[in-house]
Point group: C2
Chain length 319, copies 2
């Protein structure tokens, strides 16, 4: 049995899973990000004990523990360094913390994008691929890169920050402080911003209706829903964001020649409404011979993604 620990800004969870990707038990609760890291970890340990009990398993049956969290973090030392949504977590040695609670069980920490890439690769849309890139496409655009059948982490765990390649020199300000990043052009907040800007021209009635009549409330989710109802402004916004996304993916294709690119959240919800412009931009901005070997697909794991991500970290990698 494997223990997966998911540490998020709003929710913490402990799950028991198998190396084959079955989730046997699951316990979760609100994070309370204002509490001390030690208090959160202590509650997580309680959730883990409850999950083990729910699974009818014991500590001794565990062969590995995977911990998934937002970065920055250090996979070598197993330390979390103040993720944006956990501002109190300054250099928290989570791996050591769990190693002390579970003597003899190997503990692995990695960021959520890498963990989800592993999960989609083992159990979802990435199965069978040797070279793949997984991209979150939600609040941010993060990436996990698997090359020659191994997760590639980079020199100090910062590989895969594909959302912060520059797509538009002097483009809109990104949350990271740079300008014109892919994330500032194709993430959920970017899509919402593009839609609000476009609304100035008086179009998008269905979109405003989706947002409950208040244009200030518009989110990417509303844009996707309105686009599905045929709202032309919303479709146009997704074509624009999808084109930027396609240019970013074309760059990845030129640099890494992957065989599969898997897109999360927004691509899952919007489907071909955004995948079509993405694929069209890839055809325009990358080489035919490189694009020909690479399929662009939406993520498959859905609600199971986070649980399987944490569990996947506990599965030994061939390397």
């Amino acid at each position: 049995m494997l223990l997966g620990i998911d540490i998020g800004g709003t929710k913490i969870a402990a799950v028991i899973g198998t190396p084959e990707g079955e989730i046997v038990a699951r316990q979760s609760e609100a994070t309370n990000a204002e509490a001390t890291p030690d208090a959160v970890l202590t509650r997580l340990n309680g959730l883990a004990a409850a999950a083990l009990k729910e699974a009818g398993a014991t500590k001794k049956s565990l062969t590995g523990i995977g911990i998934s969290c937002g970065g920055p973090l250090d996979t070598q030392t197993g330390t979390i360094y103040r993720p944006p949504n956990l501002p109190k977590w300054e250099a928290v040695p989570v791996r050591t913390w769990f190693e002390e609670k579970y003597p003899g069980v190997p503990v692995f920490l990695d960021n959520d994008a890498n963990a989800t890439a592993l999960a989609e690769w083992r159990f979802g849309a990435g199965q069978g691929a040797k070279n793949l890139i997984f991209l979150t496409m939600g609040t941010g655009i993060g990436g996990g890169i698997i090359l020659d059948g191994r997760l590639y982490r980079g020199t100090n765990d910062l590989a895969g920050e594909v959302g912060h390649q520059t797509i538009l020199i002097n483009g809109p300000l990104c949350g990271c402080g740079k300008h014109g990043c892919l994330e500032a052009l194709a993430s959920g907040p970017a899509i919402a911003r593009l839609a609000k800007e476009a609304l100035q021209y008086g179009r998008g009635k269905k979109l405003i209706a989706e947002a409950g009549g208040n244009r200030d409330n518009i989110t990417a989710r509303h844009v996707v829903e309105a686009a599905k109802l045929g709202d032309s402004l919303s479709i146009q916004v997704l074509v624009e964001a999808g084109t930027y996304m396609g240019i970013g993916l074309a760059n990845l294709i030129q640099i890494l020649n992957p065989e599969r690119i898997i897109l999360g959240t927004i691509a899952v919800h919007a489907g071909d409404i955004i995948l079509d412009p993405i694929r069209k931009a890839i055809a325009e901005y990358s080489w035919d011979r490189s694009a020909a070997v690479c399929t662009i697909v939406a993520a498959e794991l859905g609600d199971r993604a986070q649980d399987l991500a944490a569990v996947s970290l506990a599965i030994p990698q061939l390397s």
Copy 2:
């Protein structure tokens, strides 16, 4: 002993080298790209025999053969597919050809950018690095990528085409047919083009003098030489090209988090005149934490690069 075979559009060479990077013997002549591939290979085999003799070695002493050539090519089957400078080489099975001449000796084919990356990694500016990217910076901008201590080739040998990431949407036409590629903004021909365009304003007297008084003859080499003499227009052109190059490298840093980036030809000739604007752009367009672990250096192997590139392909990789 190792045999290195270098197949270029203007020159072919056979060298005998050691796994420690010593070149013991070297034979080369003009390619005659108009001849049939078989005729060229037969002459190369003659050069190899002469190089063996020069080295006082025999066929039996060879433990590997490395063949470096421009792509496209297939490293799995050892086949060369019509590189731009060898238009008659349609699906030439060079590995099989040499395997038949040297029974029992393993033969490895790879493109020149990958081969040079391996050579700089083993013997030059890349020594000791686990994650590095080597970029040619001459007529074209090609790349070789070494990650976690292994050459990464991609799904169909097209990884490392870093010169064909899009830096400027709707930018100048690239030789590859796309627009705004890094290669169209920072390669030798791009630098010459930028300089010629800038000359319209009546500046650059030293540059025109370097080009023998004829502005139509201006090459990147002239721009670099004039810049070294203090020609402000030439310096300005190198700052512009270097800024684009820096943006491209910043993207690579965000995506791959390398610890070293090695730049060829123009960076070697121009030194800090172009490396300074490159480093400045990297500081602006990548994250501090990622840029902090990555050093940007000029290639070190100089005239020995091509020979050591071919030889490096014959050295077994740990993988």
